[in-house]
């Protein structure tokens, strides 16, 4: 009797010993559909940064006051297609809360048990500022700051505070107005500090003093070398300038030792936008240079908006951008070409 049901690929797939072999060369094409796989991988790869960017603070800055209260300033990316955004505040004793949307609008916010429900309505970035009393505790003369942060953050400690213990590695440290500012990574952090008259700058000096004399000699040598090179360069540049005076005359360039005054800048660049002019005024009032973060804080602009504005002014040739302590230092240019 002939069997009606035969094993598929019986002849090809069974070897001499009757073992079943399966071809796996085309298994992706036949079973998973390669185009589908590729498309999903690309989508996943594209969405990864977006997913991680939504709902996570892009900037988180903390300032501790001498009484242990803390000012918190944070910028958060939110989904512009949602009406509300819920954010966990770092405690429940909140003062002076201000929430701003993309356009600098004050957004409505309900605070309950350390959670803020913000009506975002189309904002893609929100800025939240508030004061809080829950992050620092005091025992005897010892102050302890504790925070479980969802992102990297900066922490400005009070004047004359001296750190005597910490549980997290600082990413960076700088001194701003005689105050230590630490940059710390996300996660749980505890910092103990006392108030003392010995600040970090004294310690730095001591560290320098403790270094070997040989090192000092090397440093002096290097500095001396730099000064000599700088002097030679200045002489060469001065000579070149004298030679090139005629060529420079062809280009309408105004050059002087100090930064140009506002009137001249606006005359040279008559097509500047009004909001860009405000930025220039602010930079001018700050001796011609300011950090991009200060511009953001003063004009309450999201990082991307301010970055675009700064880039626009750089393209216009009004400012130049330099890196300073991992931040953008925006400087008015001393030389500016006139727009035709």
């Amino acid at each position: 009797m002939i069997s009606l049901i035969e094993p598929i690929q019986l002849e090809n797939s069974l070897g001499d010993d009757g073992i079943l072999f399966v071809r796996n060369d085309c298994i992706l094409d036949t079973m998973v559909k390669t185009p589908l796989l590729v498309a999903s991988m690309i989508i996943v790869a594209a969405l990864l940064p977006i997913q991680s960017s939504f709902s996570s603070p892009r900037d988180l800055d903390l300032i501790i006051y001498p009484d242990g209260s803390t000012h918190i300033s944070t910028e958060i990316d939110v989904d512009p297609f949602l009406t509300d955004y819920k954010v966990n505040l770092f405690g429940s004793t909140i003062d002076n809360l201000v929430v701003l949307g993309d356009d600098g609008f004050l957004l409505d916010v309900d605070v309950m048990d350390g959670t803020a429900l913000i009506q975002t309505f189309g904002s893609s970035v929100i800025t939240i500022e508030y004061d809080i009393h829950d992050l620092v505790s005091k025992q005897g003369r010892l102050w302890t700051f504790s925070l479980d942060s969802p992102s990297d953050f900066t922490l400005l400690l009070p004047k004359n505070s001296a750190i005597v213990g910490m549980t997290n590695l600082p990413l960076n440290m700088e001194i701003i107005n005689e105050q230590n500012q630490l940059t710390l990574s996300s996660g749980s952090t505890e910092i103990d500090y006392f108030f003392s008259t010995n600040t970090i700058s004294n310690t730095t000096e001591e560290i320098v003093n403790e270094e070997d004399n040989s090192l000092n000699i090397i440093i002096v040598g290097i500095i001396g070398g730099i000064i000599v090179i700088a002097l030679i360069s200045v002489i060469i540049i001065a000579k070149n300038k004298q030679k090139n005076v005629k060529a420079i005359e062809k280009v309408v360039t105004i050059q002087q030792n100090n930064i140009l005054d506002l009137e001249t800048i606006f005359k040279l660049k008559p097509d500047l936008r009004e909001d860009d002019k405000e930025l220039i005024k602010f930079i001018f009032d700050n001796d011609g240079e300011v950090l991009e973060s200060e511009l953001r804080k003063n004009f309450l602009q999201p990082r991307t908006t301010m970055w675009r504005a700064v880039k626009r002014l750089e393209r216009e040739g009004v400012i130049e951008i330099e890196k300073k302590d991992l931040q953008n230092l925006v400087k008015l240019r001393k030389n500016m070409e006139e727009d035709n």
Binding site: S69, F194, F299
Partner: protein, 277 residues
């Protein structure tokens, strides 16, 4: 196709790994700061121990201090050898030892009552005024941004003069509570005024948001109809959309927001995501 698949995998791996690489690089910015902090902490601990115990330092604290001090030396050595990982370990070890010592000192030297900073009596007035001044500056920036500074100019001038007066009162040990209350009230009133003065602009922004969003929801509902989704729910959603549009035309923004919340629930029942792009 294989090349494309390979490319996609590379993109996926790079996309996942690159953020951690960036963070790592940032962490290596200036390892010498670890030494600065540790040396400062060491010095502070020595000061505290001298003040508290003079030459009679308890054995347990001595052991902890030795451990911490050795770690600081080791940290210095690790940095000289450019061994960053070891330096990090040394730093954490040193700071942990100093932290333990400082906590023992503060527990034993004074009554170990934890004082929560939220307790008003423990707040210094200077800090309070610093915080209020920052709040005034924030509101002033918002007011400037919306060109309302001329309207609020007098209030801001008054706020700054109150701050100055309060600072003087603090310096001369007078009670500034009356002026602080006045300043708080003034700030609340300025905030309210700013909110009211930009209400029209804000309403328009919300209306635009709704318009953009509702058009997309309309399209999604039509697609849902073609897919034979629950017709009753689709009709309900359409009614809610009409209601929102009507409320918006009457400028009843808050009511529109409430109806919108209902719409989101109905859309979810139909199987439409609220995150429409």
């Amino acid at each position: 196709m294989k090349k494309l698949a390979f490319f996609a995998i590379i993109v996926l791996i790079c996309g996942t790994v690159s953020p951690s690489l960036v963070n790592h690089a940032y962490g290596q910015n200036d390892p010498s700061i670890l030494l600065r902090i540790a040396v400062q902490a060491d010095k502070q601990i020595v000061n505290q121990l001298d003040k508290k115990y003079e030459n009679k330092i308890p054995n347990n604290i001595n052991i902890l201090y030795d451990k911490g001090h050795r770690s600081v030396k080791s940290l210095d050595q690790s940095l000289s050898n450019n061994d960053i990982e070891k330096a990090k370990q040394d730093f954490l070890l040193a700071m942990n030892s100093f932290m333990q010592i400082s906590r023992i000192i503060s527990q034993s030297s004074e009554k170990s009552i934890e004082v929560n900073i939220s307790v008003k009596s423990n707040q210094t007035l200077e800090s309070k005024i610093d915080r209020l001044e920052k709040f005034v500056q924030t509101l002033e920036s918002i007011s400037k941004k919306h060109n309302k500074i001329d309207q609020n100019k007098d209030e801001f001038t008054k706020a700054y003069s109150l701050i100055k007066e309060i600072r003087n009162q603090i310096n001369s040990n007078e009670n500034p509570s009356k002026n602080i209350t006045e300043l708080n009230n003034l700030m609340n009133s300025i905030k309210k005024e700013i909110r009211n003065s930009i209400a029209d602009k804000q309403s328009n922004a919300i209306k635009n948001f709704f318009e953009k969003f509702l058009v997309q929801i309309d399209q999604k509902l039509m697609e849902a109809k073609d897919l034979d989704r629950d017709q009753i729910e689709i009709d309900k959603a359409n009614e809610l959309i009409l209601e929102i549009r009507e409320l918006l035309s009457k400028n009843q923004i808050n009511d529109a927001k409430k109806v919108y919340s209902e719409l989101i629930v109905v859309l979810k029942n139909i199987g439409i995501s609220v995150k429409i792009t």
